[in-house]
């Protein structure tokens, strides 16, 4: 723990915390949120549907804490939020979370998944992303750093990892870069013009490949050769030399635009004379719609469970967006904001739509999920689930930090060190659990092996068994079953029990035989394995 603390101090000390314009960000995010809601309102009107009611406070707190901090709220946070009577408490909560110490830690992982896909999980790369989010780097800066560097600063070398992991396979580098950063899957246009999507021709596939075919790497060092063209067999069977062409059809001529070539230093981690990847960065930011649209659509998917265009790597003219005009407006707004990630997050979670209930009020037909008129159930990611499971059952107190940490915070004049410490300490315990959980693919599917693990594995039993000062131990010391049920539901579901539910659970509890702490353990098990805990709702 001491060691971790030292590292955290180092991170803090070496960093200028510039948050002067945070209020401005929030209010401009508010305006954007209202605009988004206006698009949705008019969409619902046209579709002749109405939206679900606004979610209750407890549900909203759980949802947004999971989305922005990667965990469920603590009991103390629940009590504080539910008892707060101010009208703008949701807005304050959003500000606290977006600016809070846990958001970069959590969102670094989210970005890692989004960018690296099956190659995700490298700790150094995650740390690079976390630091970048903490420094409020914008999305275009991150993109540039991942494509062309600089890779020579402290902790910066790992920024080449997206390229490096794929450098030995031009197809996957081309396809992944195009999917991740531009929201387009051109893999079907490799052997022939895309059979299903009119937009994508072989020229696009090999045009995009031409930005990468000179790239070298695969062992931690990424470089670029000075020459080499992509050749391919056209549908007519004749060999062609590919044009260096972006998805928009823009062909890059020999001299690149805004980015002057770096001078050769002999270090092959630096881009070569006229780097093709450098040209890609220039052209992508000039033709900004692909770049901007892809990110906002992916963020929309993150917060709403599906993209405005879905799947998020299938943005093309034949795949209409769910809501007219919204994606385009969001993309323009995001670009105009200078690709400000925090502002985009704040805007999306400040919408009325994000705060809607996931439960339909009556027996009428529930609108389709793609209308965004009702919040959808989203399975927790493996990481959210593991962290939340440890948090709600855990012996540790996640809320308060020890005296030493508080002194350090006062000394440095920064808050949040204790939170970061706690987060990292909990995170280090999640590894074994994460491996046993189902990953959240596009279509989440529960496997029997996760169910078996939750039902019988000792690691889970240990969490729900009374031990030390964990939840079950605290429950077993309570005098009445009513108290026990209330505390258990509040801890695990982040809400007080509903009346009927409370009395039914008390009845269940009183009917159980055997050791009291074992009964508490079974109650806690049933709560943490129930769907209400497994999903964000």
């Amino acid at each position: 723990m001491k060691f971790t603390l030292m590292i955290i101090i180092a991170v803090f000390a070496g960093q200028s915390v510039a948050r002067a314009d945070e209020k401005a960000t929030i209010s401009s995010a508010q305006q954007a949120a209202r605009k988004i809601d206006a698009f949705l309102e008019s969409h619902w009107k046209t579709a002749e549907i109405h939206s679900a009611p606004v979610a209750r406070d407890a549900a909203f707190l759980r949802r947004i804490t999971l989305d922005l901090a990667g965990r469920v709220p603590t009991s103390r946070e629940v009590v504080r939020f539910l008892s707060d009577e101010s009208a703008d408490k949701r807005q304050h909560l959003i500000e606290r979370l977006v600016d809070g110490p846990e958001f970069p830690l959590h969102f670094g992982n989210v970005l890692d998944q989004m960018i690296q896909g099956r190659h995700a999980g490298n700790k150094d790369f995650v740390d690079y992303l976390r630091k970048s989010v903490r420094k409020q780097k914008s999305w275009d800066v991150l993109f540039r750093e991942m494509m062309i560097g600089p890779w020579d600063g402290d902790g910066q070398k790992i920024a080449n990892r997206f390229i490096d992991k794929r450098a030995k396979n031009l197809d996957s580098l081309t396809v992944d870069a195009t999917r991740v950063f531009f929201g387009v899957d051109i893999s079907c246009a490799k052997c022939h013009d895309h059979p299903l999507v009119d937009d994508w021709k072989q020229d696009h596939f090999y045009g995009m490949a031409s930005f990468f075919n000179r790239t070298t790497g695969g062992k931690g060092k990424v470089g670029e050769k000075k020459d080499g063209e992509v050749k391919f067999l056209g549908a007519d069977g004749k060999e062609k030399t590919a044009k260096v062409m972006f998805l928009s059809g823009l062909v890059v001529e020999v001299s690149p635009g805004d980015d002057p070539p770096r001078k050769q230093t002999g270090d092959n981690n630096k881009p070569a004379h006229i780097s093709r990847r450098q040209q890609l960065v220039t052209v992508a930011l000039k033709e900004r719609v692909f770049f901007s649209r892809s990110f906002v659509n992916r963020m929309w998917e993150y917060f709403f469970g599906s993209g405005l265009v879905d799947p998020v790597d299938q943005i093309h003219s034949g795949n209409a967006p769910a809501v007219d005009g919204l994606l385009q407006w969001l993309a323009e707004d995001f670009a105009a904001s200078g690709y400000d990630i925090q502002r985009l997050m704040a805007a999306i979670v400040s919408t009325r739509a994000y705060g809607l209930s996931s439960q339909w009020p009556d027996d009428s037909t529930i609108p389709a999920e793609t209308t965004f008129a009702v919040a959808r159930l989203r399975p927790l990611t493996r990481r959210q689930l593991a962290l939340s499971l440890l948090l709600v059952t855990g012996a540790g107190d996640y809320d308060s930090s020890d005296d030493e940490t508080q002194r350090v915070e006062r000394y440095l004049g920064v808050n949040g060190i204790g939170k970061i410490q706690k987060y990292l300490a909990f995170e280090s315990q999640t590894t074994a659990l994460i491996r046993a959980f189902d990953s959240r693919n596009r279509e989440f599917q529960s496997s029997a092996s996760e169910a078996l693990f939750m039902s019988n594995n000792e690691a889970v039993q240990k969490l729900v068994r009374a031990e030390g000062d964990n939840l079950t131990a605290r429950l077993s010391r309570m005098s009445s079953s009513k108290q026990i049920v209330e505390a258990a539901v509040k801890s695990v579901f982040s809400r007080p029990p509903r009346d009927s539910e409370g009395s039914q659970l008390v009845e269940w509890f009183d009917q159980q035989h055997g050791d009291r702490s074992d009964v508490c353990a079974r109650l806690v098990w049933a709560l943490v394995t129930s769907a209400e805990f497994r999903f964000n709702h």
Binding site: Q445, S446, A451, E458, Q461, Q511, G514, F535
Partner: protein, 435 residues
């Protein structure tokens, strides 16, 4: 064999309490329904022998590392590439196999061999992907393993048993069947550490009735939660995964070969491979549609002949015993048995008396469901260097497997808007070995 009943403890008192709780919580009808389902007794588990003799199933024997066709199905005696072993005649006139397979030789009328595989890739990981999915890797689409597709297609509705059990105890070349675009729901039950699946025993300190009551409470809370929720189907899927737990815990006896008569255990022998194949037979017989047994250590870059002298007789014994056993139980007609590797081994014998990876001319074998026993398909040249007749690739093998199991290889899945046929578009099933 008597298995414990599934009802928690069967006491009237418990039932009454449970019913009261369920009725108090949910609308009466649903509660009664769930209550009824909860009390399915163990003896109601579909009895494979009576109910499912016609159900199709597949046993996939994976010789990891690449078994040598020269020492098994396609010997070249007397040639420079042939190695030291003699050949022996088989039940099929004119067809000889390596002398290390005397028992299989007598059973060749049940087996079909393809001696003309030319699959192109001779690096372990990529080749294993290619052969086990029947397709080259594609950047944006992850394909499921053939076994995963078979398990999905052959699954029995509402079965309490797993759809796919995969053994891979040897660490060498260990791979997990890719579920690809079919998703995590199709993850096989993996046995990597021991012959029993993980997490199928009651946890410490929880009795069977308590385990059941705990699950009932979980299910009930989940179902209450799902009411009027958008996307409640996902909760249904989540609950159905937990509903499998009971059946899986109950299937533990299937993994226990002590329950086989000593004579049967003796017959399969005491090798790990033998014991795994016996468990596999128990699983198939009980109605598990897809079982894979991987046997490692075939990657004989050194001392190829010594290692095959050890490995092939074990394979010969176990494989022939298995075919006999399945046949005697009337299961062979409905069970497709596949013997496959990622590639074969080089004609050239290297300086370490080994054979290296070779994908240009190698063999695989099939038996049982949909297979024409005794068919010997394709031909290599005198030195086994090239295929001279009946060239087949990985896609063709996949198409053959699907067709043998009664599944149309041209059937499509949809990944988003994109239609994806089970076998690669240009794959052609090898009809000559199909019955």
């Amino acid at each position: 064999m008597k298995r414990p009943a599934l009802t928690a403890c069967g006491s009237i008192e418990h039932d009454a309490h449970r019913r009261r709780f369920l009725q108090g919580t949910l609308a009466g009808t649903t509660a009664a329904l769930s209550f009824g389902r909860m009390t399915v007794a163990a003896d109601d588990v579909p009895n494979a022998i009576t109910l499912q003799k016609s159900q199709k199933r597949v046993l996939f024997i994976w010789l990891a590392g690449g078994a040598s066709q020269f020492e098994m199905w396609d010997p070249k005696p007397g040639r420079e590439t042939g190695g030291p072993f003699r050949t022996i005649p088989t039940a099929i006139p004119g067809y000889h196999v390596g002398e290390l397979m005397p028992k299989i030789a007598t059973q060749m009328d049940k087996i079909a061999v393809v001696r003309s595989l030319d699959t192109g890739i001779s690096a372990h990981a990529i080749a294993a992907d290619l052969i086990s999915t029947g397709r080259p890797k594609e950047a944006a689409l992850e394909y499921p393993e053939i076994g995963v597709v078979l398990a999905k297609e052959l699954a029995v509705r509402d079965s309490l048993l797993p759809d796919y059990v995969s053994f891979f105890l040897s660490t060498e070349g260990r791979r997990r069947p890719a579920t690809g675009f079919l998703g995590g729901r199709h993850t096989p039950l993996m046995l990597e550490e021991s012959m029993r699946p993980a997490n199928i025993d009651l946890p410490q300190g929880v009795s069977r009735p308590q385990h059941t009551e705990r699950e009932q409470l979980r299910e009930l809370l989940s179902r209450e939660f799902a009411e009027r929720r958008a996307g409640a189907g996902r909760v249904g899927g989540y609950n159905s995964a937990f509903a499998k737990v009971r059946g899986l815990m109950q299937s533990d006896h299937l993994f226990d070969i002590e329950q086989e008569p000593p004579a049967v255990r003796e017959r399969y022998g005491r090798t790990v491979f033998g014991r795994q194949c016996l468990v596999a037979r128990r699983l198939l017989e009980a109605g598990v549609p897809m079982v894979k047994v991987a046997r490692g250590f075939w990657d004989s870059h050194h001392d190829n002949f010594e290692s095959h002298r050890e490995l092939v007789p074990d394979f010969d014994h176990v494989f022939s015993t298995l075919l006999d056993d399945l046949h005697e139980r009337g299961l062979l007609e409905s069970t497709l048995v596949i013997v496959l590797s990622e590639f074969g081994r080089t004609p050239k014998i290297n300086k370490d008396v080994g054979r290296d990876h070779y994908a240009a001319a190698w063999s695989c074998a099939f038996a049982g469901c949909g297979i024409k026993g005794g068919a010997v398909y394709g031909k290599t040249d005198d030195d086994g260097k090239t295929v001279v007749d009946g060239k087949a690739n990985a896609g063709d093998v996949a198409a053959t497997i699907y067709k043998a199991a009664g599944i149309d290889p041209e059937k499509h899945y949809y990944v988003g808007p994109r239609p994806v046929p089970l076998a690669k578009e240009d794959a052609v099933p090898i009809d000559a070995i199909l019955s």
